[in-house]
Amino acid sequence: MNYALNHFPEILQRAGQHAWLAGVPLVLGLLIAVPVGWLARRFPKASPWLVGGSGLLYTIPSLALFILMPLILGTRILDPLNVIVAMTIYTLALLVRTVVDGLSAVPRDTVAAATAMGYSPVRRFLAVDLPLAVPVIAAGLRVAAVSNVAIVSVASLLGIPNLGFFLTDGYQNYDNGEIWTGIVSCLILALVFDLLIQLAERLLTPWQRVVHG
C-alpha cells in the first residue's frame, strides 16, 4: 500500500503505457476481424481456414511471439511496435471466431426481411447484421481485453515499459509491495477496459435495455 501511495504518478504513467499497448491492438484487431468474419460468413468453404488459421496464431506463447516479432517487422527488440503487432494478432485470433459466431446468431428472418426491403449486401451488413451481432462481439472483446492486459505485462521482461515493470522490478528488489502494486494495477486496468466495453455495448444496443413485458 505504501509503495502504491509513494509512486502514484509513476503508476499512472505506466498504466497509460500499458493501456496503449493493450488497447490499440484491441481496436486494430476488431477493425480487421469484422471484414475477415464477414468473408468467413460469405464464403463458408473458406471459413475453417480463416477461423482455424487465426486460431493457430493464438497458440504461440506470448514471450516467444514478442521475441520473434523483430524478425518479421525488422524492428529492434525494445520497440513497442512488436508488442502492438503481437497483441493485435492475439486479439484477431480471438475475435474472428467471435465475429463469425455473432453474425451467425443474427436471426435469419431479420436478414431475409432486410434483403427483401432492398438493402444492398454491404449496407445490409452495416445496418442490420453488424448491429445485431454487437452483443456477441462485445462479449468476445471483453475476453480479449482482459487477456491483453494480462499478457502485455510479460513484455516488461524484455524491458518494454508498462505496468509489468513493477513485477520485474519488485522481484529484483525483493519488494512484495511493489509486486502487488503491479498485480492490482493490472486488475484495475482490466476492469476499466471491461467497463468501457460494456458501456459501449449499452450505447450501441439501445434495444437491449427495453424491459420486456
Binding site: I60, L63, L71, V154, G182, I183
Partner: protein, 245 residues
C-alpha cells in the same frame, strides 16, 4: 539474422548435454505434464460436480475472473512468498512456479468440465436414469462421453497456457525451453532468444495439433457436426422445439 538463428539451432553443441535442446525440451514437457495432471485432478471432478449438483457455480465465475491476473505477477508473488520454505533444495526453484501454473491451468479445465456436463440434454440424463443406470453409470456412460468435446477444448487451452507460462517461469531459474529466451536476453544473444522462441512456438503448435487429433479420435461422431446434420434432415423448428408441458 535468420541465418544466425539457424546456425544456433543446428549447432551440434545445442543438441547434447545439460543445456542442450533435448534436455530443455524434456524438462519443459515434463513440467507441463505434471502441472496438467495435478490441475485436471482438481478441476475436472470439481467442474463435473458443480454442473451435476448445480451448486457452487460462483466457483466458475471466480475461476473465470482469475484469468485477469497477470501470470508474471503471480509467479513472482508466489516465488517470493515461498522463498524461505525450501531453502537449500532445488525444490525452491520448482515448487512455486508449479503451484502458480496449477492455479493458472485450473480455470480453463474447470470451465470445460462444467460446460461439458452442464450441456448434456436433461432429457438424455432423464432417459439414462429411467433405463436403470446408477448415478455412476450415468456419469461414466452418458455425461462424460457427451461432455468430452468441451472437456478436451478446456484441456487444449490449459495446455497452451501452461506451455507459455512455463516459458516465462524461466525467470525463476527453472529448466525448460524458456531458459534460452531468458538467458539469451541476459547476455544480449538474440540468436539464442529467437532460436528458443521458435522451439517454444513449435512445441505449442505440435501439442495443440496432437490434442486436436486426439479430440477427433475419441469424440463420438454423433456429437461432432451435429448441427449440420440436424439441419439437413429438415425438421421444422416448431416441431423440434420443446413445447411447454
Amino acid at each position: 539474422m535468420i541465418t544466425s538463428i539457424w546456425t544456433w539451432l543446428t549447432a551440434p553443441a545445442q543438441w547434447s548435454g545439460a543445456g542442450g535442446i533435448p534436455t530443455r525440451l524434456w524438462e519443459h514437457i515434463w513440467a507441463c505434464l505434471l502441472v496438467l495432471v495435478i490441475a485436471a485432478a482438481i478441476a475436472w471432478p470439481l467442474g463435473a460436480w458443480i454442473a451435476h449438483a448445480g451448486r457452487g457455480r460462483w466457483l466458475i465465475s471466480v475461476a473465470n475472473a482469475a484469468r485477469a491476473v497477470p501470470s508474471l505477477g503471480l509467479l513472482f508473488a508466489v516465488a517470493m512468498w515461498m522463498s524461505g520454505m525450501f531453502s537449500g533444495s532445488t525444490l525452491a526453484f520448482t515448487i512455486p512456479p508449479t503451484i502458480v501454473l496449477v492455479i493458472l491451468a485450473i480455470p480453463p479445465l474447470l470451465a470445460g468440465a462444467y460446460a461439458g456436463v452442464h450441456e448434456v440434454d436433461p432429457a438424455v440424463r432423464d432417459a439414462a436414469r429411467g433405463m436403470g443406470m446408477t448415478g455412476g453409470e450415468v456419469l461414466r456412460k452418458v455425461e462424460l462421453p457427451i461432455a468430452l468435446p468441451l472437456i478436451l477444448s478446456g484441456l487444449r487451452s490449459a495446455s497452451l497456457q501452461v506451455i507459455a507460462t512455463w516459458t516465462i517461469a524461466a525467470v525463476l531459474s527453472v529448466g525448460g525451453l524458456g531458459r534460452y529466451l531468458i538467458d539469451g536476453l541476459a547476455s544480449a544473444d538474440y540468436a539464442q532468444m529467437a532460436g528458443g522462441a521458435v522451439l517454444v512456438a513449435v512445441l505449442a503448435l505440435l501439442v495443440d495439433g496432437m490434442l486436436a487429433l486426439l479430440q477427433r479420435l475419441v469424440v463420438s461422431p454423433g456429437l461432432t457436426g451435429r448441427r449440420r446434420r440436424r439441419a439437413r434432415t429438415g425438421i421444422p423448428r416448431a416441431t423440434a422445439s420443446r413445447p411447454t408441458a
